[in-house]
């Protein structure tokens, strides 16, 4: 990790807290999931936490971000309350989508998350419309399309780049590139480098998505570009997926080797925080413990919440 001194301690700790919340939630889900207490398939974000944390620290509630199927990380980073997410995973009416959405369809109007789609790429054009709407309605907010490398295969991805560039839409295209589309390596599902071609349409930024400071810096530039130009930008973050595409088993694909130290955005960032004396070992441990308490509370809240009324089939 490169040394950087520009970051303020409270921002650094906020990003750490976000990453650890995403990680510790995943670690809670892993042993619980086989017990079928959750009503939904889950796509965990272990290894990819830095992308959400480094991006969302630059976003405001008025910025509208639509997610793909791997929602927990970006939704929590954007502000979705933990207990609202956990209750949704448990299929309870107190969940963020009132037990109608599940892990792949989370909503939070207060924090600028008008949904997420399980259709890969399905959210991208919607984000362009959100950005255009922000502009036409005179909001200073921007749209954010949060998608993975698999979505760049889809026609709607290219349509959206073109539309956003032509109409000068304030939208950020955020590609969280974990190099895998389910089990297909990127080289087998995408012929070219989409970020390079996106450069024909808009400014492109690239970050190391396992290094939260790299994402923090590049996302800062990309978001500022969208805010100031009121036009689009593209941010490409390479990262690694530790778990299988869906579910709670670790990935064992020979072409996706994981080094639990070097590839871990949390280990890397904590080392940085200690080295630069932005945090002490005691402070780091306290963050983890506080999150454990939040998780206890969130899971208890979810378990105590009601299931939807079977009579209320329609919304």
């Amino acid at each position: 990790m490169t040394e950087r001194t520009g970051i303020r301690p409270e921002q650094a700790m906020k990003m750490l807290r976000t990453m650890r919340t995403i990680r510790q939630l995943s670690e809670r889900i892993i042993p619980l999931y086989p017990k079928d207490v959750m009503e939904t398939p889950v796509h965990l974000c272990i290894g990819q936490e830095a992308v959400s944390a480094g991006l969302c620290i630059h976003l405001r509630d008025e910025d509208l971000m639509v997610l793909g199927h791997r929602t927990h990380g970006p939704a929590l980073a954007k502000g979705l309350p933990l207990k609202s997410l956990v209750a949704e995973l448990y299929g309870r009416t107190t969940g963020c989508s009132h037990a109608r959405g599940g892990s792949m369809h989370v909503y939070d109007g207060e924090h600028g998350i008008p949904g997420s789609s399980a259709i890969v790429g399905g959210n991208i054009a919607v984000s362009v419309g959100l950005g255009l709407g922000r502009k036409l309605l005179g909001s200073e907010g921007i749209g954010v399309a949060y998608f993975g490398d698999g979505a760049t295969d889809a026609g709607v991805f290219w349509e959206s780049l073109n539309f956003a560039a032509l109409k000068e839409v304030p939208v950020l295209f955020l590609c969280e590139d974990n190099g895998l589309s389910n089990v297909m390596p990127k080289s087998e599902h995408m012929f070219a480098d989409p970020a390079r071609i996106a450069g024909e349409f808009m400014p492109v930024y690239r970050a190391d998505g396992t290094d939260v400071l790299s994402v923090y810096e590049e996302a800062g530039r990309a978001v500022a570009q969208v805010r100031e130009s009121r036009g689009p930008a593209y941010l490409h973050c390479t990262t690694k997926r530790w778990m299988q595409h869906q579910g709670v088993l670790e990935d064992d694909l020979p072409y996706n080797p994981i080094d639990p130290e070097k590839d871990c955005p949390i280990v890397r960032f904590e080392e940085f925080l200690l080295r630069t004396r932005l945090a002490t070992p005691g402070e780091l441990a306290a963050v983890g413990e506080e999150i454990e308490r939040d998780l206890d509370e969130a899971f208890a809240f979810a378990e105590a919440s009601p299931y939807p009324d079977p009579e209320a089939m329609e919304v």
């Binding site: 949904g115 919607v126 419309g129 959100l130 309605l137 709607v156 349509e159 539309f163």
Partner: protein, 324 residues
């Protein structure tokens, strides 16, 4: 009141609602500078500016996706798909995103978007400028499907659709765009969704039809007069929500039912109306329900006249509810 064609009434409906509500935006391929290939959006860009009426790339999926994003956060987009035959690239956005927005968010978000599109045969458009795809959308919970057959209804239903909180497919029978003329109320004019109309009263057989097929059925009904049978024609105006009550009331009165549509027979919406009668009016039926429809083939090129239901085929369909 002003006498207008169906096309002028749609233009008037758009203009009225754009004046009334500055959240309403119109966009699509060739709708701005050109005023639409059928001229439905003529003059709107001049009057309301390029922000509220604009051209898009040839990119149906992107057009509808963008419209959805606008709709969920405070705007009232009315995108146009130039021909209904071109809607398939946008099918995913309509079916997977727009239709499910309200449900999957537990009612937190709605998607007030109206997708306008000319549909149906009769202009010698061939395979990809003639299809009637209404059944696909009727089959998708979360969507409303509206089809006007008169100028006054076109304006009134369009305004209701724009004001509706949910996504609406507004299908315009292009064959009668210019041939169908009628009185249209000036300014505010609202026709509620879910309320059909009796086009013509009769005692002996109910014919349910929509869009350009109403005219065809009226001719058939006149021909049946010569045989001493009076035909009641019901135009549901909106297939979803469907005015079941109006259809059932008519079927119970006449004891017979024929459904007429241009779309292919199998899986067509006529089957749904037949099922409605079978489920809720079987005891009143005095003969088999008949469907007069397009054929189970792609829309033909040179055989358009044979493919589309005409008055003679409708007459035969009606006769078959008596002679069986």
């Amino acid at each position: 009141m002003t006498t207008m064609t169906l096309l002028q009434a749609i233009n008037d409906g758009l203009r009225t609602e754009m004046k009334n509500d500055d959240r309403v935006l119109v966009f699509g391929e060739d709708v701005g500078r050109n005023g639409g290939v059928f001229r439905a959006t003529e003059g709107l860009q001049e009057e309301f500016g390029e922000e509220r009426c604009f051209d898009t790339p040839l990119s149906e999926c992107g057009i509808i996706g963008t419209a959805i994003g606008m709709a969920v956060y405070g705007l009232r987009p009315v995108p146009e798909i130039q021909f209904l035959d071109f809607i398939y690239p946008a099918f995913d956005q309509i079916v997977s995103e727009a239709a499910k927005m309200r449900y999957r968010s537990g009612g937190e978000y709605t998607c007030p978007m109206v997708v306008r599109s000319p549909y149906g045969g009769g202009i010698r458009g061939g395979h990809y400028h003639s299809q009637s795809a209404e059944a696909y959308f009727c089959h998708t919970p979360g969507l409303k499907v509206v089809i006007p057959s008169t100028p006054a209804d076109a304006k009134g239903l369009l305004i209701s659709s724009i004001r509706d909180e949910d996504p609406v497919l507004f299908l315009e029978p292009k064959r009668i765009y210019r041939t169908m003329k009628g009185e249209v109320p000036d300014g505010e004019h609202v026709v509620p969704l879910g309320k059909g109309r009796i086009v013509r009263e009769g005692r002996d057989c109910t014919v349910v039809a929509w869009g350009a097929m109403i005219e065809t059925c009226l001719k058939a009904a006149e021909a049946m007069e010569a045989e001493g049978r009076t035909i009641e024609i019901v135009d549901p105006r909106t297939l979803v929500p469907l005015d079941e009550e109006l259809i059932l009331e008519s079927v119970k009165k006449t004891g017979r039912l024929v459904v007429v549509h241009e779309a292919p027979r199998t899986g067509g919406f006529g089957g749904e109306i037949a099922a409605l009668a079978a489920e809720k009016a079987i005891a009143w039926l005095e003969g088999p329900v008949r469907r007069v429809t397009g054929f189970d083939t792609p829309f033909p090129y040179t055989l358009e006249g044979l493919y589309m239901p005409d008055p003679n085929r409708v007459v035969r369909g009606i006769q078959q509810t008596f002679d069986w």
